[in-house]
Symmetry: C2
Amino acid sequence: MIQAEPRMPTAEGVRAAAAAVAAILPPTPLLPVEIGGVQAWVKAEVLQPIGAFKIRGAWWRLVSLSAEERAAGVVAVSSGNHAQGVAWAAKRLGVRAAIVMPHDAPAVKLANTRALGAEVVLYQRPQEDRDAVAAKLIAERGGTLVHAFGDPWVIEGQGSAAIEMAAQLGRAPSRIIACCGGGGLAAGLALGAPESAIYPVEPVGWDMVGRSLAAGEIVPAGADAPKTICDALQPLATKPINLAVLNGRSEPGVAVTDAEVRAAQRFAFAHLRLVVEPGGAAALAAALAGKVPVDEGTVIMLTGGNADPAAYGATIAGSD
Amino acid sequence: MIQAEPRMPTAEGVRAAAAAVAAILPPTPLLPVEIGGVQAWVKAEVLQPIGAFKIRGAWWRLVSLSAEERAAGVVAVSSGNHAQGVAWAAKRLGVRAAIVMPHDAPAVKLANTRALGAEVVLYQRPQEDRDAVAAKLIAERGGTLVHAFGDPWVIEGQGSAAIEMAAQLGRAPSRIIACCGGGGLAAGLALGAPESAIYPVEPVGWDMVGRSLAAGEIVPAGADAPKTICDALQPLATKPINLAVLNGRSEPGVAVTDAEVRAAQRFAFAHLRLVVEPGGAAALAAALAGKVPVDEGTVIMLTGGNADPAAYGATIAGSD
């Protein structure tokens, strides 16, 4: 990203974002779930209109643009769910949107983004730097960058889920377990739920936020990072803005395997009747695998449900 | 059924049932859905704790039992979802429950019913009459029959969904489209939503409620009724109590094919991120196939999500 970070996200900003989100989107259900004999909670963000929590940050970023900025349009980088969030918000507000997406993004996410009226610009993952592709686009056309996680409004918008769940629960959650790509959601939750322990969950080998938290500095994913079915959770590195918020506020990062993620998808199918994509099931996977402690005040984020039909069908049928 | 019908269900009973249900179960979400360019609504009953609306009628029937009746236990007949509803309510209230279920009920429904602590008594479908099996059990052991649809409390309990959706919508629905097995849900909705048009949807060849409404008398399913993937929607005949309520209040019945039901399951997966079993998708199938008109006041019931994993996986992957 070539722009300087304009400001840090704040708890006050999260509360403002929650009000803006509540004005246009009903709260997603907080549903009971039994894990190891304990009744905890899942926040069903898969029931958002775009099937993912990313609509929160995208909406807060776009409604916060000035009239001049709206006229110039937006450019976003995304593996698919942020893309749909930005496209949804842009359509509502009549803003032109171009989204930089990886060539290997799930077909369903590409199709949904285009169906919402956004222009999709593909890049090669992992060879090309998606931020550089976006920067070039902005240099050519103008417009505001809406980064998927390294943006104060986007972080505040994602944090609105924390305000919602506390109201639904009637108290601050003891713990919030959330999938983690670049750390936008985790940072927003940390600001929005100051009394709750925050557990970011990443795919094994793509746990750069956890490693960055441990090192106290940004550690990018290695060139040898393994394949993961969590297509939504593999940015190359977190950003200073995310690390700054999470440092000292986040529990140590947790990493989950593809097998644990598939088991969580099957659990959500059988016990919650919710469709959850691999990345969206990472937090539940960590809870089911006993990698994060669960009590009756724990909220597990089910963040996205835009699953590839063939892969999902195979996972549910138990044939992969 | 050898017992006489004890009374007719009433609109007042539906309102009382809605209060009893609201005391123990949060409202299921009413979610927007776009069908043919029109924004209508789905009532997501798959998000009930047992994954189906049947928890409503079972709860209202069991909390309405006297202390003496509770002590004697209950006997239910069910293809699977009513079974789980009765088992769930019985467990909560400390009532002994025996459930008569078909030998070919989906394994997931048999397992869930047993997991809730109920005794499962299998019968051979279609050779044996499940009502006769239940009557024999009651003659031997005592207890109250909790019929899946031919019971005034069960009908009133199912109707509580109508009270909920009107409150969520802020007005009476124009139309309610609901799957139909024996007609318990349709009858409850007819009483609970007196201003709304009620459309019962049945599987092709198992549309005995539609045929009974047309004939003005009970028409049982023929011995030559075809196979259907809607395991929850194939009782052999409706009951006088259901027909009495629906006569003159229901729109003509609609029948859907297996292919239309599978298309609806895939639509719910891709656009709503909800797992819906075949029978639970029948109403959506009718709407998507254009067999029932849809406007912005239409509510489509998504009634059950206890799907067999192998069959569901194949449907979603598009391989059946």
